[in-house]
Amino acid sequence: MMTTAADSKHSTGMGKDLIVYVCLLALAGIQFFIAYQNISTSQMFVRMLSVAVIEAGLALLFFMHLSENRGLKWFVLIFTVAVVFGMQYGWSDSFRLLDGVPWAH
């Protein structure tokens, strides 16, 4: 008989969920800690976003059980990353609006 993702998820217990929950709380705490650091906005942005990506990865893999289905994991990862990366093309233009010459001033 075919084994589905629904069947395989029974193998994980609440212990792992609790550990992931505590890790997520700790990572959220790190984000709040970074907010009070005396660093530049760009450094703060990079650090906070890095922590957020780790948080999202933990939530996807363990809370949403993506770690238990390899095919679905790659499907979601490739599509989402492709879309998110595709949206990044405009950043250079936002700098042009701020610093560009001569039309930006």
Binding site: T4, A5, A6, M48, F63, G71, V76, V83, W91
Partner: protein
């Protein structure tokens, strides 16, 4: 026996030909796959909003930093993360056949979702009281208020939708019309709402903290 197995078993019984069976995509039942496709599409919506916010913030000199306290946001984050855990406990209980516990923890998740929404609205009212509206910002560029209310409003809309969906599914689960798979699929959506908040907090709140 899972939903996917039951559907294949029924197909085999009707046709009597195991060779013609088609496995579900990634061995995921159709309803769950539909939820994943929705989550992927919705993550693109939120990513679009957050990238647009980043673009405008980057291109606007003297961006305001109006937040003096992050206590409310910290409590809201704690509530939403905890609601994800209670949702997980509810789904696991449903998988183990403990219907009463599954229903109880789903309703705890609903209560936490409502509490989150109340705190969110309270925070909005505080900002509106200070003069911030969708088109007006007392601290500088009106774009800040527009983006703040749009992004947090979209998230709040998702939380509200999630609360309604959880109540509906939990009641039908208790009534025997829905099964553990349905509860798990709704739980996926709830975890997604939590996941989005992990990006909204640093980008919209923490980066705009007054120093």
């Amino acid at each position: 026996m899972s939903q996917a197995d039951l559907s294949i078993h029924a197909q085999v019984s009707r046709t009597g030909a195991t060779e013609t069976m088609t496995a579900p995509t990634f061995s995921v039942p159709a309803k769950k796959m539909a939820m994943w496709l929705f989550i992927i599409a919705d993550s693109a919506t939120f990513a679009g909003c957050l990238v647009a916010y980043g673009f405008i913030r980057n291109a606007t000199p003297d961006w305001p930093r109006p937040f003096h306290s992050i206590t409310n946001v910290a409590i809201m984050t704690l509530i939403l993360l905890t609601s994800s855990l209670t949702m997980l406990i509810g789904v696991r209980s449903a998988e183990q056949g403990d219907k009463a516990k599954a229903f109880r923890f789903t309703m705890i998740t609903v209560a936490l979702g409502i509490l989150f929404a109340v705190l969110h609205i309270r925070e909005w009212m505080g900002m509106i009281g200070e003069g911030a509206t969708l088109f007006h910002n007392p601290w500088g560029t009106p774009l800040f208020s527009s983006l703040f209310f749009s992004i947090t409003g979209l998230h709040l809309l998702h939380v509200t939708g999630g609360v309604i969906a959880l109540i509906a599914v939990a009641l039908k689960y208790q009534g025997g019309r829905y099964n553990a798979d349905d509860l798990e699929i709704t739980g996926l959506y709830w975890h997604f709402v939590d996941l989005v908040w992990m990006f909204v907090v640093p980008l919209v709140y923490l980066l705009n903290l007054a120093h």
